[in-house]
Amino acid sequence: MAGHPTRAMGWRAWLADKLFMGKPFSEYARGLVTPFNVVAAMILCVGLPVTFIRFTRGLAATTNLSNDYPWGLWIGFDVLCGVALAAGGFVLGSAVYLFGLRDYHCLVRPAILTGFLGYFFVVVGLCYDLGRPWRLPYPMLVSYGVTSVMFLVGWHVALYLTVQFLEFCPALFEWLDLRKLRKWVGRLTIGATVFGVILSTLHQSALGALFLLAPHKMHPLWYSPFIPLFFFVSAVIAGLAMVVFESMLSHRVFHHQLAGRSPVRTDRLVIGLGKAASVLLFTYFCLKWMGVAHGQHWDLLNTPYGYVFLLEVFGFVLAPALLYAVAVRRQSAALVRFTSVLVILGIIFNRLNVSLITFQWDHEARYFPHWMEFAVTITIVTVGLLTFRWIVNRMPVLYDHPDYVVTPVAPGGDGGPNADTT
């Protein structure tokens, strides 16, 4: 971990210390040659030229999108899956700051960082997909489409991205040793969390509500008037699963930062998250069947698309719910971690089913992404991972900064882990 020298050492030395983690540049550069970085560099070597082609020659040159399929992989995976999997920030934030589950505090910052980066790269992915991405701020500044669900989604994402940045600012200011700003932003924690929960609830469900506009394009087994509720509940589950998954990866990659943390305590927290996820998954399972009953689509279950639906609901919803339950009863953190991977795959499967696989299900012409669409998606995920690692290597995300004391939340909200400095 980098030290925290004062700026008296000169801004160049201070900057070098921050960026190169206190190492001489040559040593830092040598440390960059790792298998992961080599693979990432190879991906970027493909992704960056494809990006250039996308923004110079347009969507037609780089995608298989058409008037029948205006939304492809970039919306289906980068946006819909990205937003759902970034829900861990508001789930953990509300659990700790609003419901007082203080034990989970150590998982909040990584969850908020994952959420913030998830949303940031959702916006990046959206810029690839939009025909005129430079008009992204129009709904906020120029054209208020107040009757459009898209307007709602646009505002929510913009506001929530801002809120998540504010929630992450304490770590940033601790790293930069900006004590006054750190103290000021710490006071915003409760307010930001409440605002974030409101925004997340609305826009996770608003993403589902987008599909209410296409009842004849969606397969009846996935279309339901309850789809906003399905999206919200499944996003909360995805958030919990991502927190478990992210903590599992962090323990492998950044174990040197977690030396002081008891594995028994971490396992206990993971099992607690698994317990919450199991109950939510079971609720989601029941809701999905209520959707089928509401639409009277029982006959469609015995069709090829019906088998896909049954695979999704039994294989990626009920099975993980039961696996989590067994894991909780056996107090097996390993089984919770394994099940979380299954849940993440299930959420991706669901979002791709809704937006791609079963969309326009009765059309003969099918959409399959262009290789450049895959290249862009893989590039965005890679850059997201690199950014996460860059931040975690420098800022106090997985550990408490020694110069800042953790104090309990005061009833008035003026306190908390982001409260005061010593």
């Binding site: 609720t283 069947w289 009863r329």
Partner: protein, 37 residues
């Protein structure tokens, strides 16, 4: 031929029955999850 009203009533009946079944199974599931081995 089934009228729209009859169809709606049938759907509602199925939904209510399913809701009761799910409520009971949810309580059982909750107890299963909550009890450590």
């Amino acid at each position: 031929m089934q009228t729209l009203h009859e169809s709606m009533m049938q759907t509602k009946t199925v939904e209510y029955v399913m809701a009761v079944i799910f409520l009971v199974t949810f309580i059982l599931f909750w107890r299963f999850v909550g009890r450590k081995r």
